[in-house]
């Protein structure tokens, strides 16, 4: 991370940018004396922590299901998954690695191409720029015009997938309101509806935050009504656009909260599956 100690250092962008021959010769990268580095540093630490945790859990391939809860990292579980966790079949049962790796590209792609996350990681990881009016350390810049960043334009494709994932996570949440009562004659678990535990509560919070994030997406806002030139001719889509605009105003907040809630639900189910504690049942 850049720090205020780096103020006096010269860099490529200093010579080609604020230190260029026509500009006022101030001589430093920035004159900002506030703690401008705190926000990108925080983002870097939290995102990096999440990446480490998610990578470990995605490759672990175990402790992701504890009836009736399925970790969001593994949902839908389409590989060679444990008994009871594959509500949508196992079309990839031949897949040799963790089942999470089959589906994680969709939520990962959605968040990596998200307009908010782009802002956050361009600032925190790529320092482009590290903060407003703080010169970036790169000598050249082409933005999102070339490979690979031109693929950021695929965000809406990942949004389509994220809606499907959201529906599946909603399904997982609904079926968490069951309790395993035993196994049937063929060895499959049997469930009874109308029960709830702490896991269900966490999953409800998670799925609400996931939908708040998914529906507040800028691409969703565009598709639902933003692309129109005549709001007046499309009153229903205009209404949808106004609702989504409200969610969109808090997109960054939901991006962070849903990131935490996903990790928390996974951690909780990990603990249950590993036998560290039991699920407190409310009814």
């Amino acid at each position: 991370m850049a720090s205020t100690d780096a103020r006096e250092s010269t860099s490529g962008s200093m010579e080609a940018g604020v230190g260029g021959p026509t500009r006022a010769d101030v001589g430093v990268r920035t004159l900002r004396g506030d703690r401008w580095w705190l926000a990108p540093l925080t983002t870097f630490v939290v995102f990096f922590g999440f990446i480490v945790y998610a990578t470990f859990r995605a490759f672990a391939g175990k402790d992701y299901y504890s009836a009736p809860y399925l970790s969001p990292f593994y949902s839908p579980c389409l590989g060679d998954c444990v008994e009871g966790s594959s509500d949508f079949g196992q079309p990839f049962s031949w897949f040799p690695l963790s089942a999470a790796l089959i589906i994680l590209i969709f939520p990962l792609g959605f968040r990596m191409t998200c307009y908010y996350y782009r802002k956050a990681y361009y600032r925190a990881f790529w320092l482009s720029p590290p903060a407003c009016a703080v010169a970036e350390p790169h000598g050249s810049y082409s933005g999102e015009t070339r490979f690979p960043l031109i693929f950021q334009n695929m965000h809406r494709w990942f949004w389509y997938a994220a809606v499907a994932i959201g529906l599946i996570l909603t399904f997982d949440t609904v079926i968490s309101f069951r309790e395993q009562t035993g196994v049937d004659a063929s060895g499959h678990p049997t469930f009874e509806w109308g029960h709830m535990g702490l896991g269900s509560l966490l999953m409800v919070i998670n799925v609400v935050l996931i939908w708040a994030y998914t529906l507040g997406c800028h691409s969703c806002r565009h598709i639902m009504g933003g692309r129109l030139r005549h709001f007046s001719k499309h009153p229903v889509r205009y209404k949808l656009w106004t609702w989504i605009s409200k969610l969109n105003g808090n997109h960054a907040r939901y991006a962070w909260l849903s990131l935490f809630s996903i990790a928390l639900v996974d951690l909780y189910i990990w603990g249950l599956a590993a036998g560290w504690y039991d699920d407190p049942r409310f009814f």
Binding site: R23, A24, V26, L31, R123, A133, N153, M154, R221, K233
Partner: protein, 271 residues
């Protein structure tokens, strides 16, 4: 209650310059521009500073105060501690003319390159009509006072002089978006926004929104919607297919691709 304010002001021109120390008496309720005027009146009669309305509406007194792009007339001294030194430099993205004055011709050239509003023929009664809800949509963008703080803070040109010919900047992406959302405009600006205006260069790090003194949500309401419109045009096969088989609505019909305007008549000041 008045006090003695310590300031550092950048003095110089394109051949060089430095931060010079000043001390000036200031009073309660004053803004940075008041202090600069007092320095100019009492200590440095040759201090160059551009200003006009002193009310945050003309967009003339843009500068960088303690490193942050702000309007000098809207920056209250009460935002700072009384013993804090306030440093004022000119905007660091544009060529410096002298002291706190920069040459912002770049922005007028970019404005000239932007195709103007092109309405369709009038209705039979000689009028043109649009619904109130469609009028209201563009009002946020019309609050722009052209202070060019967003253009100044944008790292695409601030940190990379070579990007200036190919990048219009946030202020003009607002205009692109406003016109592209306009029900009566017959120009299709999407290809131009991506090509000549270089909207793909923007990596939506939102500094333009952070510095806008009018509080315009430049990134969320103009740049990202314009990027999405470019995606409609170039990167979404579903949209392409829908248009081909006629199930997409006809919202974009009767528009023709806009051509880039010419900026040759814009004169740069001699300095």
């Amino acid at each position: 209650m008045g006090y003695r304010l310590k300031m550092k002001l950048w003095r110089g021109d394109k051949s060089g310059g430095e931060l010079k120390d000043y001390e000036v008496d200031v009073s309660e309720g004053e803004v940075v521009l008041d202090a600069i005027h007092r320095v100019q009146a009492e200590q440095a009669g040759d201090l160059a500073v551009r200003w006009n309305c002193k009310a945050g509406k003309c967009g003339s007194c843009s500068a960088e105060i303690n490193g942050k792009p702000r309007l000098m007339c809207m920056c209250r001294l009460s935002d700072f501690e009384e013993d804090e030194t306030i440093t004022v430099t000119p905007m660091r993205t544009f060529p410096v003319v002298r002291d706190l004055v920069t040459d912002v011709t770049f922005n007028y050239e970019k404005a000239a390159e932007l195709p103007s509003f092109s309405p369709p023929p009038r209705d039979a009664d000689g009028k043109r009509r649009m619904a109130q809800v469609d009028v209201e949509r563009g009002q946020e963008f019309r609050k722009c006072i052209e202070c060019f703080l967003c253009q100044n803070v944008c790292h695409v040109v601030r940190d990379h002089e070579d990007n200036k010919p190919a990048f219009a900047g946030p202020r003009f992406f607002i205009r692109y978006a406003e016109l592209d959302m306009h029900p009566l405009d017959t120009n299709d600006r999407r290809e131009l926004a991506q090509g000549a205006a270089g909207i793909g260069m923007c990596n939506i790090t939102k500094c333009c929104t952070e510095v806008c003194p009018e509080g315009i949500k430049i990134t969320d309401n103009a740049i990202i919607p314009m990027k999405e419109r470019v995606v409609d045009k170039k990167y979404d096969p579903l949209v392409w297919l829908g248009s081909k088989i006629g199930i997409r609505n006809k919202d974009t019909e009767s528009r023709v691709p806009a051509k880039q305007g010419k900026a040759g008549h814009i004169k740069r000041p001699a300095h």
